[in-house]
Amino acid sequence: MGSEIDLQRLEQVFQQAADLPAAQREAFLDRTCGDETELRTRVEAMLGSLEDGASLSLNDPGLARVTEGAGTVIDRYKLLQVIGEGGFGVVYMAEQLQPVRRKVALKIIKLGMDTKEVVARFEAERQALAMMDHPHIAKVLDGGATETGRPYFVMELVRGVSITAYCDKNGLTTQQRIDLFLPVCQAVQHAHQKGVIHRDLKPSNVMVTLHDGVPVPKIIDFGIAKAMHTSLTERTLFTAYERFIGTPAYMSPEQAELSGLDVDTRTDIYSLGVLLYELLTGTTPFDTQQLRQAGLSEIQRILREDTPPRPSVRISTSQDATVAATRKLDIAGLSKRLAGDLDWIVMKALEKDRARRYDTALELGDDLRRHLEDEPVLAGPPSQIYRLRKLFAKHRGAAVSITVVTLALVGGLVGIGTGYVHTRDALELAEEETARAEASARLASEVTDFLVDTLALTNAGVSLQADLSVRTLLDRTARRLDTAFGTEPAAEARLRATIGRAYTSLGEHETAERHLRRALELSEAFGEADPVGLYDALWSLTHICFYLERQDAFAVAQQARVVGLELIGRQAPVLADLQRRFIQAVEAGAHQRDAESMLPAEALFPRCLEQAAVDLPPGDPMWLVLCDGFAHAGYALWYTPNEGHSEAYWRAVLDIRRRELSPNDGTTNEALSQLVGVLSRAGRGTDAEAEMRAGLEALQQAYAGDSVQVAYARQLLGQVLLTQQRWDEAEALLVGSHEIIIESVGDPSSFYAVEALGRVVRLYEDWGREERAAPFRDRLAAVTARGRWVQVWPVQQLVYGPEHAELRAALDALVHGSGGFVYAVVGGEVSDTDFGPEVDRVVAALSRLPPSSNRAIISARCLLGLAQGYAPHEGPGALGSPRGRLLVAADSILRGCEDDLPLTAAEARAGLAQLLVEEGERGRARMEAQAAAELVDRAPRYEHWFVVAVQARIVRAFLAVGMVDQAEALLVPGRELMIRQLGAAHPETQAVEALLAEARGRR
């Protein structure tokens, strides 16, 4: 056919005509086309192609093959008119010509299927279909192939409207809707007993007709989907996809997988659940529009992972009163009507795991009947473990952040830095935790209901999108907690402790602190419903208090220990007493930290272990409380000349945690890495290697294959071998580890990948293999130039909320601008980059947020940390040098909250003083140094050599401005502490000694 007709004109006429009812088109064409016969012929042909029911789409490639239409005779049927069109094909009303004349429905399947296959399947199914004889099922009468080779099916003609349309049009109440739904269940049950699965139940396949004014539901298309099912597996995914797009809202998760192999009668139960949901609430569980727009894999994910809100929640969160009005109730009334039984019945039918659904349609119907008759129903709220499992399944995508939150939720507070924990492990932990919680069922149930409801609400209208921010979730929970809780103080305490730990993991220390302190208050006021939870909360609070330089940090730590001892004392008084004496000995010894002062603790330690073995069965949580005490002893010796004495502690901690937790638990790995560290630093490379190999093996058994956790352990083993200069072996481990990490994480610029890469570079540099180092160094430069790893560390300390996006981005840019921190991690040098613009961004972003010591300390520590990477600039220009800009910025940030953060503020202030000296502004320098000294006075007295090291930086400022007295006042006690804790020969001690000598020289 020619295309010389003007396209624009053609379209205009065609569109206008097509918009008109068919009857008016001729007159319109008469008027419009006049004597343009060619145009008219074309438009008519085109309009005809609209009418014949077939459509052209990618899924219907049969472009020009449309042959059937009204009047066509197919075997013994004459097509009368189109009565419907769907994903499968076109449905005609047809007249059966023989043996009896009657009206039937005839469905012609679209092209694109293997007709022979479909017909063969239908024949195979025919026997079963013929056996189906039920008043609520439209009989399938016949099937075959048209002359053009398309499969067709003939069915009993049902004149009616879909069940949902019928209910809404007639304003049926909830009870009437259920009454109408019950026979549908019976019909499905009947078919299932005959071995026929529908596979495509949806409102348009459940028609309602009136028999003497009584509505009768009738299921159509029974058994047809199976005949066509062949194409899913054997031919192409096309048709499956199309079919899919037609009705994903009613499709069960297992059906959506399209595997085609694993569908049984329970897929219909799911679809019945969707149908019931829609009858009750007016909407499908998942938004149809949204599903249509989602890609195949997204649809599968939603069906597999997302939990729809319960019907009552869907109604109560709806803004639209018409749904309720149609059911002759208001929103609150309808929500109340659905809450309880109906919620659980629907949700049981909609279970993702079909084993948890009703086994049969009969059971579903029976439960509905029981509800109508006020008998107890089978369905009930799902168990705690199962709900938590679903919760984690849903959030699987947001790997890092969800890891954080799951860890926090289950109480195993582990810094991300110590290991990468997979959701699977967190899940296992969660189950253990929940199993424990189920012992005190009421409490646990109240807490979990609260969390799950909060989650489901979030999930309702607003976001079907993949990653609901964990932070949003927590904030929402916290807000509800502040306003809506209060029935049960013990439950609130527990929940606050959980939330507090979650916020800690997200780096929201101040918010965490508020919740944790409130949890403690409640526990103190109302008694401890959950003493272990209280103990955990106290430990979290201890970390926060040290981090935020709180004055009561020591007191809180002390309280945690006391609570821990009380816990042990409840079931094992003798053990508790031993452990108390042990901890007191550790504290006393830690003051000195020399070999002799730690001896009493060392003597008590084996007795504690022996007694524990007698008093505590394996699996008793008190083992872990004991461990915290042992670890405390281990850390007391950390980096001291007597560090070797901590070996026994770390071994015990490692053994217990391996047994009580799992080899891949973060705290288990903490113990392992401490032990290995102690051994290597003591020059016991062979022992360190043996431990690390044993740990690696345990990990590999825990994980079926390679994982980041395993890769990380290989890296540590590599480092151990590196110190023994076993280059080849270290190379294999480190390079392999890097590859595994990239494979597991998928992102070469993630923190762990970059860290691993950095270690490879260091290996070759130490080994002196420049030619091998070079390519890896190039890769390092490439990923750090644009990587995202910094979001994990150290900015992971920063909160994830949207209000922090700007600050986070600014810090990201700052910290990985040169890859400096990567090198810092692996022991290299920070580059010479000037971070001017990035520093300005951080300061600007901070200034737009309300002041918070948490934000300040994170930002300032980033800046101060970077500043340490630079050599001091001598002479004028120091303030404008890269180091100067970093220090000035840190100082200005900290000025707003120096009362809260005196020690960090003092460090920044002293840095500023030194810069001023270089600039020749000695007066101002002296003033700032004086201010720094006052801040140090106000800081909590942490008797730790770390603090002295910080003080040393301040002392340099004192000396630079000639404040010799103040320098000495800090240095003399500091030096003693250093000698006690680190020994006289330690480089840190030596540095302090040198400073002191300098001070005395100035006198």
Partner: protein, 191 residues
């Protein structure tokens, strides 16, 4: 892979900003990606299996752009290029099949051929391609609609999003295009 993604996203961003790169540069990238995907997918599928254009295009999107939404323009450029690339691939495949059929070398189809959407009869793809070429000479947007709707398998909604028009507009134009194509291609075959 992540490197490709970053490159590609950068290129998209540059085009978006009106930088020195042009949308034409996307085409070879997307084309290669689609072919590569099709080949690797075929390697994993059973023999005789066909691939779905829609899922290929969406997979290419995920691989080249990733989960971040590069904004309306970026999406438009990508799917514009992808639909054109897909059309080329389908046409090439149809030609190759035709050649092989005439050469009687049928077994090689399975070995060499990447069977995408083979449900479309060979003649049809070529005929559609030619007809669409006529159509787009007169109305470029209609050509793009066919590419997106038919060759890349996008929905009306997605097509509208890519073209930056309303869904109603696409629906209406697609109605016209379908009718036009049907009459253009197959009037004489009608019963």
């Amino acid at each position: 892979m992540a490197d490709d993604r970053t490159e590609f996203t950068r290129l998209l961003a540059d085009i978006e900003k009106g930088g020195k790169h042009s949308a034409d540069e996307l085409l070879p990238l997307v084309y290669e990606e689609l072919r590569m995907l099709a080949r690797s997918r075929m390697a994993r599928e059973l023999p005789g299996q066909t691939l779905q254009a829609t899922s290929l295009v969406h997979e290419a999107w995920m691989r080249l752009v990733g989960p971040e939404d590069p904004g309306w323009n970026g999406k438009g450029h990508f799917f514009g290029a992808a639909s054109l690339a897909m059309r080329r691939i389908l046409v090439e495949q149809a030609r190759r099949k035709k050649r092989l059929k005439h050469g009687g070398d049928r077994d090689r189809v399975a070995l060499e051929g990447v069977d995408i959407a083979a449900e479309i009869p060979v003649a049809d793809v070529l005929a559609v391609d030619e007809a669409v070429a006529r159509l787009e000479r007169q109305d470029e947007r209609k050509g793009r609609i066919v590419n997106l709707r038919y060759f890349a398998g996008l929905t009306n909604h997605e097509t509208a999003e890519v073209l930056g028009v309303s869904e109603g507009t696409v629906e209406r134009e697609w109605r016209f295009i379908k009718a036009w194509l049907k009459t253009e291609l197959g009037g004489d075959e009608r019963a």
